[in-house]
Symmetry: C2
Subunit: 165 residues, 2 copies
């Protein structure tokens, strides 16, 4: 007995994207209540050489979609990374969720042993199961948690429960 | 074919704790170079009602140890949560690593179906595999990524590669 690649990817990502959607709703309400432009939150970053909130959403979305594309050796849909409003970020989440919903547990059977080349210049190749454990999951949660950190640093009323879903 | 509970806990946590150790080394060197008290970093938080850096380390350590204790229905060692220096945080990581190293893959066999009660007041009970996927992994990465966020927000020269290990 153990955990399937499907359980460790599609539902994990769906849950994290759900948290990211909750953050948008709460952060937008917070901006309205405090009467400031919510776009300020979208361009907020924790350090000048870190991605702003929008970038954390884009990378979380990419992390989810590319994991599925690499595991199944198929092409992921292209997104332009041009989201600048809360509604555009919601749309990005919805497009990512629609893509994820297209994968059944059966479609991922056997992908544990498929050889996956990591993105970037490392050229590292890992079997699917190691790719998910070593790279895909930590990377996805990094961007969800960093989005959380950015919003919390700006006083948005989100909490650990929103993260855990 | 799928991924074992062991693979999804002990090595995942060991890797994350290794990242947390790298952060300490780089952040301490950064404080020395900039000539400020490194203790400032340890008490830095992103929001007044969030845990400081030391708290993120303590919760990452707890998340790892309690996951193993709950899965195996054994007692985890008690740590006092009183770390205030870089060396004390290193010691906390080492004690956690020593505890994790005591678990073999065989010790976790069958824990997928053990009924685990989530911490807190929810009273939610999940089988071991769902507990790891739904709660333990996201929670652990939250604290590692938040430690990363705190240090980055203070200019510490750490990066995504340190997080991914």
């Amino acid at each position: 007995m153990s955990i399937s690649i499907y359980r460790l990817t599609v539902p994990m990502f769906q849950r994290g994207l759900g948290s990211l959607k909750t953050y948008l709703d709460k952060a937008e309400a917070y901006a309205k209540e405090k009467n400031f432009d919510p776009g300020i939150l979208i361009s907020t970053r924790l350090a000048p050489d870190m991605l702003p909130l929008s970038g954390q959403y884009q990378r979380a979305s990419d992390s989810a979609k590319f994991t599925l594309a690499r595991l199944t050796a198929t092409e992921a849909p292209k997104f332009e990374d041009n989201e600048k409003t809360f509604d555009e970020l919601r749309e990005r989440l919805e497009k990512t969720e629609a893509y994820l919903a297209g994968f059944s547990a059966e479609a991922l059977e056997g992908t544990e042993s498929r050889q996956i080349t990591l993105p970037g210049k490392s050229g590292i190749v890992l079997p699917g199961d190691e790719y998910v454990a070593t790279f895909a999951l930590p990377n996805f949660y990094f961007h969800v948690a960093t989005a959380h950190a950015i919003l919390r640093s700006q006083g948005a009323p989100i909490g650990k429960r929103d993260y855990l879903g």
